[in-house]
Symmetry: none
Subunit: 420 residues, 2 copies
């Protein structure tokens, strides 16, 4: 099974990526996709908007590796030197492509704008290159096969790069690499810290060098990737099932997804299946919970909407929270979280309502409710359940953890009701 | 005054830095420190634990730049190839250093442990190198002056690298480079595409090689960085003011920030200063606008809250939108955006209310309102202003652009009222 992997290098272009503030992250996405094809990334580089230097680096990379991928530097300005540098490194001409130019013009017309003259630069294509369509921007990508060496030019913005690579490049790369089968499984877990999870499952997964196990932690969300590489698909699936069954046994219902789906999609699918609906009342998360739920296309099937009651006056006027309750218990309290969820459910007529009220910080903490204290309420047909949580970290992290915990509270409830 | 900046490259060594999960961050710290000395980082690379490849990359870097810094690969195992690769790239010997070895042994004794035999590897020093003391680990760093080209070997762990660089390398580098001062200015612009902006200001900024101008575009948001490098601070500030005044003249009120502050903070500061308040009614952005406004600490000073009316039923029940209006015009229309903003302002008693209703996609587009069509309303004391926008891109991008445009509509309104 020691299949020799094909090798690639990635070069990110842009002077801003050489400042102390910015980092190239496109290469992480590309590495994941290349690895899944059995292609290894053996070197990465970042270079500024300097045609001569970039051209020299492309030549160096091509001497070492048969696949070189460039990201960025395809914009319309003087700064954007990738097209020129690749053409010069390969000793090829840049040719104006009328069809590409007309496509860019059409895109501007759709936005009721006229194409600026400098955008014509983006219609120059390296002689012999295939054009990669850009669904989310003006700059087309390019794919050059130079006597069996492959050079790929991709735009820098992730929302342009990802669909272009996935639709325009993956099928071509798949055809170019020797067939090894890679199959993956992708668990997601909520409600436990990474160290605790690793302590629980590492005695199992460290016994396997194939599948390879990778654990990734985001706030309130842990991903476990299993990656099996074999010669046939049944072999790969058998390896994944063998290791996967042991991990599922150990983690049980803390696993909320076996296919990488995010929590908001898992909750949405469960609600849709049950024909039930949801609404939210938010204070410290200020709309982020609703924003997360509506990031799923088609969320209107089960999501009614919600209330961002950021001030006490809004809590009283919109959700009719008794000002006396706010005075006695303060806005960050069990009774207020409960009243918010119940009122939200009643106002919207939804099956469930989630409420969130807490201290996101950096100010506003008290001895009783230090920064990071959050109450989460879940109202349903059988009353209201409120949890008090304490999250550590800055304002952004506390808000993300509060949203994740609210979704997980509903997920666990739906799970237990379905008797899974 | 055209001080030619000294140029450096950074190479991070370690196969783990070529996986989809890990990223080199040592180079961000090093770039900040080098820039402060007036040394520019012109390229960065990541390479795995492969002696031949690393050696080739070091040779390539030294051909291009007079300072090359390597991080990582100084550990005691077979995988740790940096010492070997540098020695081979420079054509120098590795020599066992007894004093360094005794230092490592002493460190182990302090922890009541015996030094493992493999740690002797860490006592090999490149012939002619200066030893850089490691306060927090066993691997010493090395500084090689190779006929005026400088090669620096640093350990990968940040708690070892940072004190070593700051105490062992900065004084030596400061002596090696001419004294310079770097000052920056950081504009942010909303409401125009990058190409249009560049066409407008490139005739000005391309006349200056100092300050250096860098333009960065995110959805609906363009950043312009100016970076001046001179011998004294007043010289640097004078250069920034000279170029900055011309850019400000050309872009006028499209500049919303001169110090890098994001749009939600600029809007918040203006509202607080005026003692005015804001609320929002969201449909397609589903809470993201409120979430963005409340990402600023202290937003409760001016933000009352809002309504996420995701379904038609919610629009009618919560904001009292006439069902007949929804039937005749559909939810994505000028009259509904206006009614949402007016009702939101009335319900909350806020000075202003923003409304957003549109088709974020991927489904739901019609001939009249294709995916990406968004109506944004702004209600204030003098009635309601509604704009129809058309954004291109996927669901995430359309929602981000809608939020950005809503904030910008209010920002421009506040600006014009303040008679700026």
């Amino acid at each position: 099974m020691p299949l020799q992997p094909m090798q690639a290098e990635i070069i990110a272009v842009g002077s801003e990526l050489l400042t102390p503030q910015k980092i190239d992250t496109d290469s992480l996405y590309l590495t994941g996709e290349l690895n899944a094809l059995g292609i290894e990334v053996v070197a990465k580089a970042v270079v500024g908007d300097d045609r001569e230097r970039l051209s020299a680096m492309i030549r160096d990379s091509l001497r070492r590796s048969p696949i070189v991928i460039l990201t960025g530097g395809l914009g319309p300005t003087e700064d954007d030197v990738t097209r020129d540098a690749v053409a010069s490194a390969l000793g090829r001409e840049l040719q104006f492509n009328l069809a590409v130019c007309e496509g860019i013009e059409a895109r501007f017309r759709l936005m009721n704008r006229r194409m600026a003259e400098i955008n014509r630069r983006q219609a120059y294509i390296i002689a012999g290159a295939d054009i990669l369509n850009n669904e989310n921007g003006t700059a087309p990508g390019q794919w050059v096969d130079d006597n069996g060496r492959i050079v790929i030019l991709l735009p820098g913005p992730p929302n342009e790069l990802k669909p272009m690579f996935s639709r325009g490049c993956l099928p071509k790369l798949r055809a170019a690499v020797p067939s090894t089968v890679i199959r993956t499984r992708f668990y997601r877990v909520s409600g436990m810290p990474e160290s605790e999870l690793d302590q629980l499952i590492s005695p199992v997964y460290t016994r396997y060098s194939n599948p390879v196990t990778t654990i990734l932690a985001a706030p309130g969300d842990i991903q476990i990737h299993l990656r099996a590489r074999t010669e046939t698909e049944p072999q790969a699936e058998a390896l994944l099932s063998e290791l996967g069954a042991q991990i599922e046994e150990l983690l049980g219902k803390r696993i909320y997804s076996c296919n990488g789906e995010p929590l908001e999609a898992v909750v949405g699918t469960a609600l849709r299946r049950r024909g039930e609906t949801l609404s939210v009342a938010e204070s410290c998360t200020g709309g982020l919970l609703a924003g997360r739920i509506t990031s799923v296309a088609g969320a209107s099937d089960y999501f009614a909407g919600g209330f961002t009651t950021y001030t006490e006056a809004m809590k009283s006027s919109v959700l009719s929270i008794d000002p006396e309750l706010l005075r006695v218990h303060t806005a960050v309290s069990q009774p207020v979280a409960e009243a918010m969820a119940l009122a939200c459910r009643e106002r919207t007529g939804s099956t469930y309502a989630l409420s969130v009220t807490g201290v996101a910080g950096p100010g506003g903490g008290t001895e009783q409710n230090p920064v990071g204290t959050v109450y989460i309420g879940l109202a349903g047909g059988d009353g209201c359940d409120v949890r008090r949580m304490r999250f550590l970290g800055d304002r952004t992290r506390v808000r993300i953890l509060a949203v994740q915990s609210a979704l997980n509270l509903l997920r666990v409830h739906l799970d237990s009701e379905s008797g899974r």
